[in-house]
Amino acid sequence: MRMSENRTSRREYLTAVGGTAVTLSIAGCMGGGGGGSDENEIVAGTAPGFPPFEMKQEGELVGFDIDLLEAVVDETEYTLTGWKEFEFKSLIPALTNDNIDVVAAGMTINDERDQTIDFTDPYYSSNQAIVVRADGDFSPGSLSDLSGHAVGAQKGTTGESVVQEQLIDGGSLSADNYNSYGNYVLAVEDLQNGNIDAVVIDQPVAETFAAQRPVAIAFTYETGENFGFGVREDDDEFTEALNSGLAAVQDGSTYQDLTNKWFGQQ
């Protein structure tokens, strides 16, 4: 009896996969870097869907990060030639692969990201807000009050880490009681529908929701987290330029004007 001709043996499969990997890595070396021809031209990347930091309105990319980075780059000798939009999780690969030169996407500076990319000085401090239904009976005053309730957050955000590290890892919330959403809007929608009792989100975002929907901020949880612009590790000169640009913007009136414009009275 002979083996069926159509079967790929394990050895053949591994050879082929290995071969493909080699081809891919060679092709990768030949691919070369992207980016503009002029060294001082830069492209920024962001992930819309994080109001009021970055979002699309009538097809236009707008928000605090957009205005702020443009103001910061104006203070430097660099020229911002345009914005590219990605999913939040694709921003770091896009940065390290030279598709973009700087990330402005409400990105929290943390150790994990700092291992892959560098950050500018912080440009915004944000705490986490715990949002509940405005007309509901549930009004927690601290994280421990969330125990036994269904809680939601956006995947990959600091809100999720807070739920994970402070509640689930500590044993005060069972993992079944945590719902992870692709976007804040869906989490808040589910909160309104009564499927979850609280959502953990960045404070300025929570204030936007509280102004527009029947939800309220129950309390805020201080994480002391800072947002920074993401840059490549070997781009020290550019990072320095952004830091001095940022300092100039924060010393003048521009920074205050932008926070007033995007966050209201703060």
């Binding site: 493909t20 992207g34 699309k56 707008v62 939009e85």
Partner: protein, 226 residues
Amino acid sequence: MHAFPLQSDWAFVLGSLDLLFEGLVVTVALTAASIALGFLLGFPAGAVEVYGRGPLARVVETAGVVLRGTPLLVIIIILFFVVSVSSSAFVTAAVALGLRSGAYQSQIFRGALQSVDEGQLEAARSIGMGRLQAIRHVVVPQALRRSVPGFQNEFTIVLKDTSIAIVIGLGELLTVGQNLYQGGQSTAALEIFLTVSLIYFVLTFTTNRTLDYVDDYFTIPGGEQA
């Protein structure tokens, strides 16, 4: 936000139709390019798998196994961030979807080619046709007809999978829809999803009906039914 007084959610969707249309154009163009590339790769690959011998057949077969066994998300990320086949997100997405579709289509055509009775090939050879001639003039015309139903599935799959292209920054219909409720009017999420789904449905329905029509048109009167 303040600049946009809340209007009714359906009015918001209606007012955003021009943006959705721009997304639709990307979706349709990406689907067409990917299906075409998939056909150019998949049809010969299917034929090689049925009739091919030696190293070529093994290469085609293995490439198919690897592509079918790799999630589309991984293919698209490798092609853009690791290999950088093109700096254009559209070209990269079309290549990724096209390669994957080619691997799927090769199996549609393999099945269709194998479904044509071997006796027909023998009969064609016995009246003096060469092997290639017999395949081309006797087997392929019948096989193409029988591949229409499988092709309808493949079209639908590619159409809906175009939405994955946002990981490399290419925004199509679904992304435009998501941007609309995430940045514009967040209460309109349901209305936007319904509208986007309706557009996908219309696209799928009309294309499938067109392929049904093509199928009927080319049916061999009184011919062997698949």
